[in-house]
């Protein structure tokens, strides 16, 4: 009975994820945030089943709008647009979506196998970590999310510092001193990161939708369900992409700071180089183009979850939100996770497999319904999402102050993003803030002076490796991805 209930949670989560992922503008991150807000009082296993279902559904749902209206439902589906939409224009939308869903299933399963093999290995290695390494790992995660965010690296780092400052509000984790509350009682307990997440990802998106003039209308178009299962000939043509796209996706997903969008773009680029005679020229509806992007973005899920669970470092904004939701439900991903909570690791693996399979079949069966959902008018969507954000933030602690904070974070997130400041580093800093500070101060007390502390980072081998990785992240970002705004 309990298993059936869990399967039902995964199923509902997947349906919610598919719908939200398909709607342009409603990102996977926002989907997961809203889903998390529903699960505050739930038992941990039920909540995880629901959240993982929504996550996998959201990733797969993004390809529906990418193919049918040329707008990726999620950032990870951005490369699917290149060949998916031209295929729709040629009257082969069913085939394009069929390929996208089928290879997503394969890519997703590859990512999960990757996680199953690599997770325990990384977990064993991570047991060698002490306070120094914990601190540096958190710092590396923050660095990567800040430097790899869109726009200027300086702004990404400033956003991370701002997030840390917000995390300092309330009681000091070691001495219990009240800091930065300015005598305001509502700030005494600090600002809950879930509230900030709902504001910065959910409510911010509402403000973005307010200024988006374009509405989508899909009339007189329907998928033929039978054609959504790709034919053997097409599978043969696209299967070779699996050889490189799946490992590329999983490995890029593994890197903190790089998510499904980067994996899909790299995989698409490599496929263009490798396949000399595609079914059609790339950009004009090549089956291989759709396959390369979709395999990689789904394989990246497994890679990202590996880093999240074994090192406690989220790869991108979605996994940052996942980390927050794991903390909320009492799971503590990080170096000791594989030692103390190994059974949860395998449970998450199982949930991922089931969610990916559910997402495939529901994606096909519900494709026409989701197509109709794309026609939902803005005057309905805006109050609907606003209500979900408000109720979700209130439900956390039954506090109206949380609702006020959430709305303020929403506006702040909107203003900052319009000004070129990424919001993901703020959320990640809020989640990791207490861990970074505690480990830094413990390390400082152990080493007894700032000079000794800095020296110890160079004398401990693992610390030195992480330090080099942090340095390389800055260097590579500065060299290759520098942007003016």
């Amino acid at each position: 009975m309990e298993i059936l209930l869990i399967l039902m949670y995964i199923l509902i989560g997947t349906i919610v994820g598919l719908i939200m992922g398909a709607l342009p503008g409603l990102t996977v991150t926002m989907t997961v945030v809203l889903v998390v807000s529903l699960t505050f009082g739930w038992p941990m296993i039920d909540a995880l089943a629901f959240i993982i279902g929504a996550f996998c559904g959201g990733v797969m749902g993004g390809s529906i709008s990418a193919i049918t209206i040329n707008i990726p439902g999620t950032a990870a589906a951005v490369a699917t647009v290149f060949d998916g939409y031209p295929l729709k224009k040629k009257g082969e939308a069913d085939l394009a979506l069929g390929i996208a869903m089928f290879v997503s299933l394969l890519g997703g399963v590859f990512g999960i196998i990757f996680l199953a093999i690599l997770g325990p290995i990384i977990g064993k290695f991570a047991l060698k970590f002490g306070d120094h390494e914990y601190f540096l790992m958190c710092l590396w995660g923050l660095t990567l999310v800040s430097t790899l965010s869109k726009g200027s690296m300086l702004k990404g780092l400033a956003a991370a510092c701002f997030g840390l400052i917000i995390a300092f509000i309330g009681m000091d984790p070691i001495t219990g001193l009240m800091r930065f509350t300015f005598g305001i009682t509502a700030l005494g307990g600090g600002i809950n990161y879930i509230v900030a997440m709902i504001g910065l990802f959910g409510m911010k998106e509402v403000f973005v939708q307010l200024s988006r003039r374009k509405t989508f209308k899909i009339e007189g178009f329907k998928f033929r369900l039978g054609d959504l299962f790709p034919k053997l000939g097409v599978i043969k043509k696209t299967f070779k992409c699996f050889l490189w796209s799946a490992p590329i996706g999983a490995i890029i997903g593994l890197l903190p700071g790089a998510g499904g969008d980067i994996a899909a773009l790299v995989s698409y680029g490599v496929t263009k180089q490798v396949i000399r005679e595609p079914s059609r020229p790339f950009g004009e509806g090549a089956y291989e183009g759709v396959a390369a992007a979709e395999i990689a973005n789904d394989a990246a899920v497994g890679g990202a979850i590996t880093t999240l669970l074994t090192l406690g470092i989220p790869g991108d904004s979605v996994t940052a939100v996942m980390l927050g939701s794991f903390y909320l439900h009492g799971l503590l991903p990080g170096p000791t996770f594989m030692l103390t909570e190994r059974h949860y690791f395998y449970m998450i693996l199982l949930f991922l497999v089931i969610s990916t399979i559910f997402a495939y079949f529901i994606g096909i069966l519900g494709s026409n319904i989701m197509l109709r959902m794309l026609n939902l008018p803005k005057w309905f969507l805006i109050p609907f999402i606003s209500m979900l954000c408000i109720v979700g933030s209130y439900a956390l602690q039954n506090s109206i102050y949380d609702v006020f904070f959430m709305i303020i974070f929403g506006l702040l997130g909107y203003f900052m993003e319009k000004g070129g400041f990424p919001v993901s580093p703020i959320v990640l800093s809020l989640i990791l803030g207490s861990m970074i500070e505690t480990n830094f101060r413990k390390t400082l007390i152990i080493e007894s002076s700032m000079g000794e502390l800095l020296l110890s980072f160079f004398t401990r081998p693992i610390s030195l490796i992480i330090l080099v990785l942090i340095f390389l992240s800055y260097l590579l970002q500065y060299k290759y991805v520098r942007k003016p705004v």
Binding site: L38, T39, F40, G41, W42, S152, L154, L157, A158, C161, F162, L164, I165, F168, L177, R179, F180, F182, V206, F207, V208, L210, S211, P377, W379, F380, I382, P383, F384, S386, M387, L388, I390, V391, Y394, A395, N398, I400, V403, I407, L411, L412, Y414, F415, M416, E417, K418, G419, G420, F421, I436, E437, F440, R441, L444, I445, S448, M450, P484, V485
Partner: protein, 163 residues
Amino acid sequence: MEYSKILDIFSILVLFIANILVFYNLYTFVTVDKIPVLTIESPLIFPFLVALTLLILLIAIVFTQIRFWKSFKIDKELHAEDMRDLRNTIFYFFLLLLYSYSLPKLHFKLSSFLFVLGTMFFFSRGELNGNILKKMLILAGFSFLLIYSIYFVFSGIFLVILP
């Protein structure tokens, strides 16, 4: 998302204000509570280092952005659209605050119904045809359905106590 110079300046100002508040609070801790900042056991050392880093970053950002702003040309049409968006955003922000403020007073169902109806009416301008009474009736029906669905899911299924 389209870049906005005004909001870029605004964001930098917000970060500066946050930074000043941190330094002010640290100053009061040192002078009033006599808690030192730069000792290894101090609970203020890490916030101080972060605030200092943010200050340096903000100064660097201002310098790089000044160069960028000088070369940045404002499209008048786009600027007018931006201003309209900003007005809509701020209007909606205050509407949300008003709704949140009214939640404990009018309770969930009534305040949410008024909020959703008002929002739907505002954003459906030019989209729904027919006379205003008919339009209000349709929107009231949608609002009622939406509120009761959310109430049922949160309160009935997930047992969340709504205000």
